[in-house]
Symmetry: C2
């Protein structure tokens, strides 16, 4: 089976080299270094033997700290004197002392400003945290500066919640409870976050819009750009990230009530929520000094093509980003190296005369860190052809976060996924002879079907525009934390200067065999999608997931039995639709078993049905208030972009409904969303029926 066993014997060596090569310098989006790297990748991909490779530029809104006027947070006394300032940069790791252009920790797209006020601690800054503050603890954040710990949800959601609560600034910090594993040393002696490390990151609420100035359209030279006031998703308040050494200073003398126990992180302080400070310093305040600039900047995607031999107008895409906050040892290089090696492997096969049935597209995205900008602009630019021609998109962001798990759009045929996993060897010591599937299953076998857990795709990486906006079947696969046993968020050094090549080499994947395994999985998936005469997509799997999701959203609604009855809310139409889809999907696959695969047109027709099924779940009207999230079955949660929500329209309508101002309206919206979901599932089912009524 060519596309699984493709020639990647040299991969392990190359991943190793490449990882080093890609991480010598910072590759911030918009920087000369990142353009140089783009050119290098283009040239190498051409050498590897792709049919064509191009740099594709867009001019998007980025955001950088002011080099001469640094960002920091102060404690100021009653005279206005700054008696404590947070650090301006992270201590640089050994071996990188001479590197210039390390961008200090900052929150990209923060508003400028120097707000000064009392501090309120808001735990993770989640919707439920603000509810607790306002409804149970009686603390009003309006006009205050809030401080939230990183973790649990996307930082942009924290900022949005702070704005909704009326805060005039928000400080984000990494608490050891969330960014240090027990018994592990801080880098460089271990892989925990040092106290001086801080998490960079954008704080946008784009909801899939891409470049904030050109929502819905690619940011080309001639494209109209809105004013900054009309831009999508920019926070209106200053935001800044700090490490836990600095956080202690801000938090240790606060006033106000004690927080609930589960709000206390691992900082060695006596926790108070605020507002204000209680010791002799109770006239002290916190001042944010933020001078970050928004700036339209040119970015570059690298796009490589292998023309399909039989169906050149069917595209399978493997894309991952290239830009990094600093060295990007894990994010994105562990992913970019995988793409690079897959291109190399494909090139080798081509030199032996191979050419895939369908067209393969490889993408090195720029400016993912600034809001998935490179991938979204390209998706906007080519929406029409992608709509018509894209079979699947496989994402290649960070390959390793530690323990083995996998996130996949469940539409990617599980048996096919499994067959890929069955053909790859476990890279773990002591698991010689074990397949990757067995290794995975051993670590995470929680499902009722005695199979490893496959997660819903959320967002926070470049598949978003492809999957959620355009309805292209998408998948991702990587080593990630064990849902059940590992409590910390992402990985400790995430988006800090300590994401180096060495941290991977010393701790995450010393043999680079995990990277190799991920490369084989991602490669296996795209080669299977590009080469199988009948697309390896499984509608019955989709039906099973729909059933699960329908049950789960119904259970959520059932928390309001009286209201359900009073407003005559019924989920019958949705359950009928899911049942209809299930029957139709089963029939479809039965007919598929009888397919005469020598009939090119007949194969094309069922493949069109398979390909367009995911498209059928999208609705051009989008979700309420989120026009670029068009998938009716999956969307990033409105409360945490990183998480995927199923039946998001219904979910959002039900959210906090007991506190709605107008119950009639609120339950009407639930009914409307059920109706839309039911219709969409029926409409998707129709695409799988025999093509003539």
């Amino acid at each position: 089976n060519m596309f699984v066993d493709f020639d990647i014997m040299s991969l392990v060596i190359h991943v190793c080299h490449l990882n080093r090569k890609f991480t010598r310098l910072p590759h911030l989006a918009g920087s000369q270094q990142n353009l140089d790297l783009a050119k290098q990748i283009r040239d190498e991909w051409m050498e590897f033997g792709l049919d064509s490779v191009e740099l594709v530029p867009y001019d998007v809104l980025l955001s950088y700290p002011n080099k001469t006027n640094p960002n920091y947070i102060s404690i100021v006394d009653h005279l206005g004197t700054e008696i404590f300032n947070t650090s301006l940069a992270e201590p640089v790791p050994e071996g990188y002392e001479d590197v210039t252009d390390i961008v200090p920790p900052y929150s990209a797209f923060s508003a400028k400003g120097q707000p000064e006020d009392e501090l309120v601690y808001v735990n993770y800054g989640r919707t439920e945290d603000f509810f607790k503050l306002e409804r149970e603890l009686g603390i009003n954040c309006s006009g205050k500066i809030v401080i939230a710990r990183y973790g649990k949800i996307f930082r942009g959601n924290k900022v949005k919640n702070a704005m909704l609560a009326g805060a005039k600034g928000i400080v984000l910090f990494s608490d050891p409870a969330d960014y240090c594993a027990d018994g592990v040393e801080p880098y460089p002696d271990g892989w925990n976050l040092p106290g001086g490390g801080a998490q960079r990151g954008n704080v946008l609420n784009l909801n899939g819009a891409g470049d904030p100035l050109t929502p819905g359209y690619p940011a080309k030279e001639y494209t109209y750009r809105s004013s900054l006031e009309d831009a999508v998703g920019l926070p209106k308040i200053p935001v800044h990230p700090i490490g836990y050494h600095d956080a202690v200073h801000l938090l240790q003398h606060m006033g106000g009530p004690h927080p609930p126990d589960n709000w206390k992180g691992s900082l060695n302080i006596s926790y108070r929520i605020g507002p204000g400070f209680t010791d002799g310093l109770n006239q002290n305040k916190v001042r944010m000094n933020i001078h970050t600039n928004n700036q339209v900047t040119r970015i570059y995607n690298v796009i490589g093509w292998i023309r399909g031999a039989v169906e050149p107008d069917r595209y399978v895409i493997l894309g991952g980003h290239r830009d990094a906050w600093v060295f990007g040892g894990i994010d994105p290089v562990s992913g970019a190296a995988v793409v690079h090696e897959n291109v190399r492997a494909a090139g080798k096969l081509m030199k032996k005369g191979w050419r895939p049935r369908r067209t393969l597209i490889f993408a090195s995205w720029d400016a993912e860190e600034f809001g998935l900008l490179g991938s979204t602009e390209w998706a906007e630019d080519h929406a029409r052809v992608l709509q018509e021609r894209a079979v699947a998109y496989i994402n290649a962001d960070s390959a390793i976060e530690v323990c083995l798990s996998i996130c996949l759009s469940i539409y990617i045929n599980a048996s096919d996924v499994n067959s890929v996993f069955l053909k790859v060897s476990s890279p773990e010591e002591g698991e010689e002879g074990m397949t990757l599937y067995q290794s995975w299953h051993k670590r995470d076998n929680s499902t009722e079907r005695d199979a490893p857990w496959i997660s819903k795709l959320g967002s926070g990486s470049d598949f978003e525009a492809y999957f959620i906006r355009l309805g292209i079947a998408s998948g991702r696969a990587r080593y990630t934390k064990n849902r059940k046993t590992e409590r910390y968020s992402s990985y400790p050094v995430y988006h800090s200067v300590y994401e180096t090549y060495e941290i991977v080499e010393r701790f995450y994947d010393p043999s680079f065999r995990r990277l190799e395994a991920v490369a084989r999985v991602r490669g296996g998936l795209i080669f299977s999608l590009a080469d199988s005469p009948v697309l390896p997509l499984d509608c019955v799997e989709y039906a099973m997931s729909l059933t699960k999701y329908a049950n789960s959203i119904y259970q959520l609604a059932l928390k309001h039995p009286a209201a359900m009855q009073q407003h005559s809310v019924s989920f019958d139409s949705l359950f009928f639709a899911v049942e209809n889809f299930t029957v139709v999907a089963r029939d479809f696959h039965q007919r598929l078993d009888q397919l005469d695969t020598s009939n090119a047109l007949a194969v094309r027709m069922v493949n069109d049905q398979l390909m367009y099924l995911e498209r059928a779940f999208t609705d051009p009207l989008g979700l309420p208030g989120r026009p670029f999230y068009r998938h009716i079955i999956f969307a990033p949660s409105s409360h945490n972009k990183y998480a995927g929500e199923s039946f998001p329209g219904i979910y959002d309508a039900l959210f906090d409904i007991e506190n709605a101002v107008d119950w009639q309206k609120a339950w009407d919206e639930v009914k409307r969303q059920i109706s839309i979901a039911a219709f969409t599932v029926n409409a998707a089912a129709e695409t799988l029926k025999p093509v003539v009524s």
Copy 2:
């Protein structure tokens, strides 16, 4: 050439019979008679030999007069006594005296109410008419009842304009200037509108939404329905239509200034605009008495299928509506008969062993008169499969309005259109031996290319959802008035009780040979689209039209040279895009000439490019404020639904821009719309390029 010369020898006889059969009874949407007719059509289509025929119901909002409380307009004196009332019904034409269920003239979806106030004459009620009233004549319609003559624009736009002007009711009347041809007698002695006749019609502003309660989704049993307050497009004021005999009473004693000469119709009165009355009756007012009810009602489309032999998953649709305001002699029966005879002809061919390459769908739409509801609901219901599979939609509304002209989406290959027209004989007396093309050319040869004029598709008939929302290449062909020589609007008896079978038989098409010619043209188009191995769609034609439209919108902008310069407005990006499209289209057709037509997959691929080109011109974000008008090149005019506007986004941004409140904002919007248009044209061009970069 089978699909042009298909067996319609019997057509002329059948059209004649059918026309009589379909017009014996009123067939108002939602009535038992119209359901009975649907069943009859279903049964006959099955007999003719279609593969399947189904009745497809939807439950949509319709609107009927209150049977026990009729609508009328009064003049009331200062005591409140009604001293004149308009007639409650039209005099019934000879031979139809015993017919029950003739719905009296009314404005469907009018608000209920009995407003009473002074009257203001607003000419045609166009945007420019209200501008003239307010800006030049200093007349304020706020709080008044306005009276507008029918004609020039869609009546719903008149009502919208009246609402925007603050009127609290609007009376619509048919002026002889617009509804009587010189030297022609009123029906039954001629084809002019009698003084007691009035034009029914809906007064919605749906902007393509379909059923007002379920915008974007099919009105099925389980579908969520909005409240009437949230419904799309319902007028908030009473509206009522009257004939010119009644209009004279309302208009003859009005006060206020004299109107401009071109506002005077042909009523034999001394014109005044109002408000109020000047003679001894100056305390008189006008009272509207409107009791029309909105009501969710079941409607039925009839949908018939012929499975394609080679590509069953490619659909060619011929659709026309079945519902009529009363007898529908012209509208819709002259179209419905054509569909019926095409089905019969196709059935005959099938019995001889023929089966089209692609699937043919025949549709008899319901409730077109109530806002294109049947066709739009079906489009919404099947949007996913239509998006994937529909090759083209040919509309079959009224076939004859008198003189020969043709309206076509210009994307339908002109040479192919011409070849159809060349194969049909002229039905005109004295043109024996002449082709239909020659006959057409003789009457209307105004274009610079020495070819007959092909109009832009506007709206007002059932192609709207298919073309403007879904981006399916669409066409219509019928006998219509000569743009240059005939001044009256539509045809005199339009939507009156006088649209009988007899008016067609006596005046419009005594031999029924014009109907036959239209049947051959519409049939020729769908058979060509369904049977040609390579789709007969011409991208170079499209490019030429784009050039024309770009020049024309540029000329419009040039009326503001100073503002253009001040706001740096450039059309360069649009002209570059059109040039790019032109080059790409030419290359595409050159490659097409080299196509190996024996390679099924290769043919499928270019056909996909041809089919999806029209789709590529649509934008899921829609036009500003009109989410269901998604075509960036064509939309119904915002000021007259009947008319097609090219580059409608730019056009609307430029409209009346000299009176914009905020010039900066207004010109920014022009720039944004130019950018969207340029991008869309480039994106469409991309779909025609070789499929791999």
